[in-house]
Symmetry: C2
């Protein structure tokens, strides 16, 4: 997605160690014109696959997942890090090591909102190591729903997430794929 790549080149910053700062339009402040077009583009790539629900993880996956789900005309469910008191005691629960914060991220989804017959598209802001998305995929499997695809805003191909997720055997679409970050330079896969 050309607009997104241009925005990353203009406003993104490599902080070193493969960390990309895109908090002016994606992960802290969100540009909603751009994000609506991101949602429409992800929806277009999974159109006709019978998606009934979009699943994402807190926190920065929520904005792109909300707008993808809106474009597809289906609800979004976001896995919660902490179980709120409104959640039943038995939930689908998985963990993943946190890439940018250290420690472990918990993911909880209520069985009320995911189960047999659902066709799920996972949407997240980043595909890096693939650990978070892998945990979401295990939640989909645990629930008996069918995973139909994975859509990401930005992929860092050099972190190997795509190969980790290849055993899921579903299409993986990323709107901007970064092959390398060298100093100030951000190089996309064409």
């Amino acid at each position: 997605m050309r607009e997104l790549k241009e925005r990353i080149l203009r406003d993104g910053r490599h902080l070193g160690g493969g960390i990309l700062k895109v908090d002016s339009f994606l992960t802290h402040q969100v540009d909603l014109g751009l994000m609506m077009r991101v949602g429409q583009e992800l929806a277009r790539r999974f159109w006709g696959m019978g998606v009934t629900k979009v699943l994402t993880a807190e926190i920065s996956g929520i904005a792109p997942a909300v707008l993808t789900a809106y474009a597809l005309g289906v609800p979004v469910v976001y896995a919660r890090k902490h179980k709120p008191i409104t959640m039943p005691s038995e939930v689908y629960h998985q963990t993943a090591p946190s890439h940018t914060k250290g420690g472990v991220v918990e993911m909880n989804v209520s069985p009320e909102f995911l189960g047999k017959g659902e066709r799920v598209l996972i949407v997240d802001d980043f595909l890096a190591s693939g650990q978070t998305i892998g945990a979401l995929a295990r939640i989909v499997q645990e629930s008996g729903a069918t995973l139909v695809g994975i859509g990401c805003v930005v992929e860092k191909s050099f972190e190997g997430g795509r190969s980790l997720l290849s055993s899921l055997d579903v299409p993986i679409e990323s709107l901007a794929v970064i092959a390398a970050m060298e100093g100030e330079r951000i190089v996309f896969v064409e």
Copy 2:
């Protein structure tokens, strides 16, 4: 907002102790048709007030804030509970006691995205005790920006948040105001 009240009556559940379960359409699974109309209605109520930015708190404020900001044509900023490594060391920081989870909620906003000249609308899913929104308002003041209003999806008027926030002297709009929850019964303010 009639559609929202009907949805709360149909799908909401009083879990006791003033806790309203609305996770089938607002706080865990999100109905995006409804949420787009919620965003449009909040935008309508603050139209013409020169809002340049919507501010919300993680997590369940994000979906309504995203769609309100989209309808207003401005960016959204969400205060982060945990400072990601992409955030500068000096940030606007406030805390509020957590209503539904116990403990304290941290809120961090980067000075890159809030400051003098901004006209800020705070949007959140619930107005209950008003503590979270009060902390967001202090962040707005600290940044030198101008707070122009507060928009909430659901207000529980019996928890006193509106009076806590009255000293801010800005309009407060809630789309469904609950006066009381007695057993299974949810009573709206008309």
